[in-house]
């Protein structure tokens, strides 16, 4: 089977977890290179052990290689802003796992096939991948006036990239709830919890509705999208049945959908509590597969 060559840029938590995911199942992608900037990083060592070609020259190392068509950028927002134009110039598709948000947002459960002609798509953030589908599901049946999501993640699973760019993480997540979740206004609040043993990623979504809605229809829509996400993140689930409460808001007392969600990881690199890493890399892999299949198909047509 012909495959599309892909590379991972960034050998931190996210990059390493993604590496394991790409190797786990047969897809139309071939992991041709793992690129980092620290030759001693855990990620590069592990890649080497798995006999994946590695480079410690970061983006330069990738651009030296031939035939790489897709790069998963798992560095940081600042770094990706520098990488993006260089990848584009080299005609390489960038699947951006940082909150740089240069390209359009993609959440597989919402808009997987919408941006296949783009050269750069953005995976938002872990909390964006987890919560945007829930806001979207509510908005499908009842217009969301304002959504607020609280994403709680364990301290040990938050790498330096996120820590240095918490602002980008926060703003990008809120923007995604608005732009593709469909909320008129949105806020996102990340919380890092350092409890031992580490807590599992859990998210709370408050969706303030424009007007009264059919609670059963809302719940059904939420349950349906949860099944969609479970297709690529099996550990994604509702903690409890969502419900509608009346909340005091600046716009008056309004029905507010309350959703408690948790994400258990597959344990590919990080332990299962780090559902935040899992949902990010699983979603990126899903998007990568789609791009790779699309490239192969286009090639087929042009030949």
């Amino acid at each position: 089977m012909e495959k599309i060559k892909v590379a991972i840029l960034g050998s931190g938590n996210i990059g390493t977890d993604l590496m394991y995911k790409l190797l786990k199942t047969q897809t139309s992608m071939e992991l041709a290179l793992m690129a980092g900037i620290d030759p001693d990083s855990e990620g590069l060592k592990r890649a080497k052990d798995l006999q994946i070609p590695i480079t410690a020259e970061g983006i330069d190392g990738i651009l030296k290689e031939k035939d790489i068509r897709i790069v998963f950028d798992a560095t940081s927002a600042k770094a990706h802003i520098a990488h993006a134009p260089r990848l584009k110039e080299a005609n390489i598709i960038a699947i951006d796992l940082t909150p740089a948000a240069i390209g359009p947002y993609v959440v597989p459960a919402i808009n997987l096939v919408e941006h296949l002609e783009e050269m750069n798509v953005n995976m938002i953030s872990c909390s964006g991948q987890a919560t945007t589908p829930l806001v979207y599901a509510v908005n499908c049946v009842a217009a969301v006036k304002y959504s607020e999501i609280i994403a709680t993640i364990s301290s040990v699973s938050v790498g330096p990239g996120t820590r240095q760019n918490l602002d980008e993480f926060t703003i990008t997540t809120a923007n995604a709830c608005q732009n593709i979740g469909g909320a008129k206004n949105a806020r996102a609040i990340p919380v890092i919890n350092s409890a031992e043993p580490p807590i599992m990623m859990n998210n709370t979504v408050y969706a303030v509705l424009e007007e009264t809605a059919d609670e059963e229809a809302v719940i059904q829509s939420i349950e349906q999208i949860v099944k969609e996400v479970q297709k690529y993140v099996p550990g994604y689930r509702l903690k409890r049945k969502p419900y509608i409460d009346i909340r005091h808001t600046p716009w008056g007392d309004l029905p507010t959908v309350i959703i408690l969600n948790e994400v258990e990881g597959a344990g590919d690199f990080f332990p299962t509590y780090a559902g935040n890493l899992d949902i990010m890399t699983a979603a990126a892999k899903r998007v990568g597969e789609q791009f790779a299949a699309h490239l192969l198909q286009k090639k087929g047509v042009s030949v």
């Binding site: 301290s155 820590r163 240095q164 918490l166 703003i171 919380v191 408050y206 005091h248 808001t249 600046p250």
Partner: protein, 336 residues
């Protein structure tokens, strides 16, 4: 003993106790009194910091920027500070507050997460602000860990780092240990922020001063989240008795506490069962009203909620866990 820098945070921590309902005119009046009493720093913002007006933290009744404008207009020679919790606030809010004219930004994180603050310290410094690092829930970590975290903040540009007893769970020895360790490790100021859950807000603040603290916090009549804080007027009276001259006018503070602040109390600020349970279990003080609301709604004991939150090590900003815990406890009750 040297003269400490006193920050009055009635208009920030006290915001929790009145469900974020301070009006611009009220803020103007209080700031004006505090300034005429020569309180050096006056903190004003939503209780959970800039941008705190949310479902999670409680919506503000009035536009936060109007409150800060009113504070800046009445500050005289005092400095206006705002609290900033990364993730609740973002850089656009930081910039707006700087545009309005605040002087000090107090950047607060859970006491193990200092490394998320770098971009905020840098931005605050770029905007010419004095900066304070606020290590919340300091009772959860030993002095050595706090010192490492404080050092990070110093490296990012903090002018002072506070040991913050968010849950009112520390006893004097614990305060002394932590403050002394920070003093030993840092070359910048060290501060202490107390809560009164164990009846130690003033005592702990004195312990902090004995251990070398340079900055301390109070609120008029103790108005603050949960069990409240060290009352600023009591603190000044105590400092006077200890012959530590602060230059702060005690009479003006006593009058302001009695005549302006006492009338806005929405419930008696005493160490009742819920507040003692919070301090004893080490639960963040601003959870109090949210816990009481959930307890009524789901017909369960607020103490049971506090205990479970303590067991789960909930940190600042996790008001949504109150709901999760309440639902879980309610379900267990049904099963019984």
């Amino acid at each position: 003993m040297k003269k400490p820098i006193v920050t009055d945070t009635t208009l920030r921590d006290g915001s929790h106790a009145v469900s974020h309902s301070f009006s611009p005119s009220f803020v103007g009046e209080v700031v004006s009194k505090l300034a005429s009493a020569s309180v050096p720093v006056i903190e004003v913002s939503h209780g959970s910091g800039l941008g705190g007006s949310t479902i999670q933290q409680g919506f503000s009744k009035f536009d936060e920027w109007k409150l800060i404008e009113s504070a800046v207009a009445n500050k005289k020679q005092s400095k206006i500070a705002s609290l900033f919790v990364p993730g609740i606030g973002t850089i656009p809010e930081l910039n707006t507050a700087a545009d309005i004219g605040i002087d000090v930004l107090r950047i607060a994180v859970h006491c193990t997460e200092a490394d998320v603050t770098q971009q905020y310290f840098e931005q605050a410094k770029k905007r010419g602000l004095e900066t304070v690092g606020f290590l919340m829930m300091s009772h959860t970590q030993p002095a050595s860990v706090l010192a490492e975290q404080a050092k990070l903040m110093e490296n990012y540009g903090a002018d002072c780092v506070y040991v913050v007893d968010s849950a009112g769970a520390l006893v004097p020895d614990g305060v002394r240990d932590r403050v002394a360790k920070l003093k030993e490790s840092l070359s910048i100021n060290v501060g202490f922020h107390a809560h009164n859950n164990l009846g130690l807000a003033i005592g702990n603040t004195v312990a902090a001063l004995e251990a070398g603290a340079d900055q301390i916090d109070g609120t008029l009549r103790g108005l603050g989240a949960g069990a409240g804080n060290a009352p600023t007027e009591v603190l000044v009276a105590v400092l006077n008795k200890m012959e530590i001259v602060t230059g702060i006018d005690l009479t003006i503070l006593m009058d302001a506490a009695e005549e302006i602040i006492a009338p806005v109390f929405q419930y008696p600020l005493v160490i009742d069962r819920d507040n003692l349970a919070a301090g004893y279990a080490g639960v963040y003080n601003s959870f109090l009203l949210h816990v009481r609301e959930a307890a009524v709604k789901f017909d369960i004991s607020p103490v049971a909620i506090m205990e479970e939150l303590g067991r789960r090590h909930a940190v600042a900003g996790q008001e949504d866990w109150i709901l999760d815990v309440a639902l879980e406890l309610a379900q267990k009750q049904l099963v019984k």
